[in-house]
Symmetry: C2
Subunit: 407 residues, 2 copies
């Protein structure tokens, strides 16, 4: 049984976290440096952006995680340390400074950065911020809150999820924090997501778990179709729950996957619902697909359509845009079999049957679409496979935020 709990990344035994304002961002009320620390060595696995332009911190982290081990994560916001001539040098220096202060090896540090691309990252505020950052480490919810705030950019809410579950008679915990907002269209990886667990699981199975999970979770999220240069998901597993180490697929691995999926879907919904400028969380639920690829391609195409996203902002049941997005998705579907409905806490309404419009009450549709969480239900009537994708509406605020992001 998977149970939702408080505590985020500090829910798992042996993990502490902190966050401070060190001065990378001019706004002094916003934390811009975060730390996650495991009191014991942890197995670690990660997935990274597929963008050919990769942030320097990702290159350094990949090298550090080659042995499947890590004990700390340091992450700054306000500057992505990407497309800078000295990026790798700075990321190595960040690792070295925090490792020295924590008394661990620099190779056991995960380093991450998020923010504007192409502006040199100054090490001075980071160096100054490290002593208070380490001094502030706490193993409770307040520690998680501080770290979650430290990694935020244009996010408006902190994103934390945690669960407890049982493995081999031992209670395990798994929690995560994430930052999302803009440049969100992960491909084989995700935005910045940091997960911790006290479950004992081998590095190989840990990697398999996250690589499998992201295909149906973070890779099904889109805010604006732009795949970031700095997407990264990292998980640390320190084994302090004391369960027998998971070394192969089986019942324990399945339980771990369910716990993982509960946390990652929760974070996906938070990332989509807090997309830049968003007023609504959109979820496209595709059913009746012939295969998983078809279901995923259709769901992602619908959730990515600028026209549909703008219609949802206006609470306009413009289902033709759903069909249009399915039609250009590249998936092989029979258009004349497709049903489309909209659902929200206010009700559900069928708007298209077998590819053609049905008579429906515009007033009722508007009432349903004025809610904050909208499901777009697509039944392809072509098979038994389902998939979901998450996104948000396209609003004036998205334009405002991105029309003048750097200044």
């Amino acid at each position: 049984m998977i149970k939702s709990i408080e505590g985020g990344i500090c829910a798992a035994k042996g993990f502490s976290a902190s966050g401070v304002h060190c001065g990378i961002r001019k706004n002094q009320t916003k934390k811009d440096l975060a730390l996650i620390y495991s009191e014991k060595p942890a197995h670690a696995a990660a997935v990274y952006t597929t963008n050919l332009v990769k942030g320097a911190p990702l290159l350094v982290t990949k090298k550090h995680l080659a042995d499947g081990q890590a004990r700390a994560v340091i992450c700054n916001s306000g500057n992505a340390n990407t497309c800078n001539a000295n990026g790798v040098e700075i990321a190595e220096a960040m690792s070295g400074l925090i490792a020295e202060k924590l008394g661990i090896s620099p190779e056991d540090v995960v380093v991450a950065s998020t923010g504007v691309i192409g502006q040199p990252l100054d090490l001075t505020p980071i160096a100054a911020g490290i002593p208070p950052l380490v001094a502030g480490l706490r193993a409770d919810g307040a520690g998680c809150d501080a770290a979650a705030e430290g990694i935020m950019t244009t996010d408006t809410v902190k994103k934390e999820v945690a669960v407890s579950f049982e493995l081999g008679g031992k209670t395990c915990h798994l929690g995560g924090i994430a930052k999302g907002s803009g440049m969100i269209h992960p491909n084989m990886a995700t935005m910045l997501v940091f997960l911790t667990t006290d479950a004992d699981i081998s590095p190989a199975l840990l990697q398999r778990a996250i690589s499998t999970d992201i295909a149906s979770t973070f890779n099904m999220v889109s805010v604006d179709g732009d795949t970031s240069t700095n997407d990264m998901l990292v998980i640390l597993a320190n084994g302090m729950a004391g369960n027998p180490e998971i070394q192969e697929e089986g019942e324990d691995f399945a339980t771990f996957m369910r716990a993982l999926g509960t946390v990652t879907v929760g974070l996906c919904r938070m990332i989509a619902g807090d997309g830049e400028g968003a007023t609504k969380l959109l979820e496209c639920a595709v059913s009746g697909a012939a295969d998983l690829q078809t279901a995923r391609v259709v769901a992602k195409s619908v959730i990515t359509s600028s026209l549909l996203k703008a219609a949802m902002f206006g609470a306009d049941a413009n289902w033709g845009r759903v069909l249009c997005a399915i039609g250009y998705s590249g998936a092989a579907v029979d258009v004349e079999k497709i049903d489309v409905a909209f659902r929200s806490p206010a009700g559900e309404i069928l708007v298209c049957r077998q590819g053609s419009g049905v008579d429906f009450s515009e007033k009722e549709a508007k009432r349903i679409l004025l809610e904050k969480e909208i499901e777009i239900l697509v039944d392809l009537h072509g098979g038994e496979v389902s998939s979901r994708a998450w996104g948000c509406d396209l609003t004036y605020d998205y334009v405002r935020i991105n029309g003048d992001y750097r200044t």
Copy 2:
């Protein structure tokens, strides 16, 4: 020599056009029905959307053009006649009504519709509009203006281009009108584009000409990434210039292609610059690519990025978004060789060299980006091939227009 002239689709001999308000649209000051007519039978060729959801008029037009012949084009705006159970029936009836009035065969009619998807198209206003539509046919610029207005939806300006050129000692003309605005991301076809020419060219070569041309023109335009269900480009060639019929590739075909490209690039720039809500025309010029596919993929990815489009709206030289869009484009490029510059009538400024930022004056960049036409210059330094793509900025008005399009 290709010479720009006035007259649009009426520039070519033997073509007349008209447009009326028949009542499909509630706004009585906006024409919603257009007609193009050739006094002699014309060779005809067309390309259509690759969207699996296809407007009923496209299916009917495709059937009518099977013999490579047509004499008239009828097009309504305000309703796309797509995803309606009776769509084909209505499109056939439109063809029949106009053919009867013109005294031609229904098989020689091209029928097109644009507007909202999934609402039944009422034939009554169209039937009532046909007599004044035919009575209003004019072979001058006023006829072209009326037709160009009749096909507009959220377009804010009429889009007409025409050229004259010589073939076999005869002066030929080629002109076109287009509607663009939203749901613009053509794939192997385009928005509604109607071209006329009095050049004599065989149906096979006419088809080859437009199929070749669109790959570097309309298929390189994007307003919002949504490939419409109703994209169509049709060309009518009535041979009235009296040149020897073009039956094979050679010098005359090359001249025809240059004339065609002049008209289509002109229309592309108009469609992009008048994208829904747009305040700026963006042109991404990619050079130094290893092959044409790479150049095109990179140019289109840059022009399609929501983040870059929003930055251009804000006149923000956020070139990191250009590199990001190149990185996720799928093209195999060496990121560390890429140079990026912005150019406008106010000047040119280099912002990124070899994949990293260079010192530049933000004030100077702002001055350049405040202009209405912006070029984004990308040099991949990986070969000799170039390509261009056209788009527009992402603005508050795009959200406003599409948040409440149907009401």
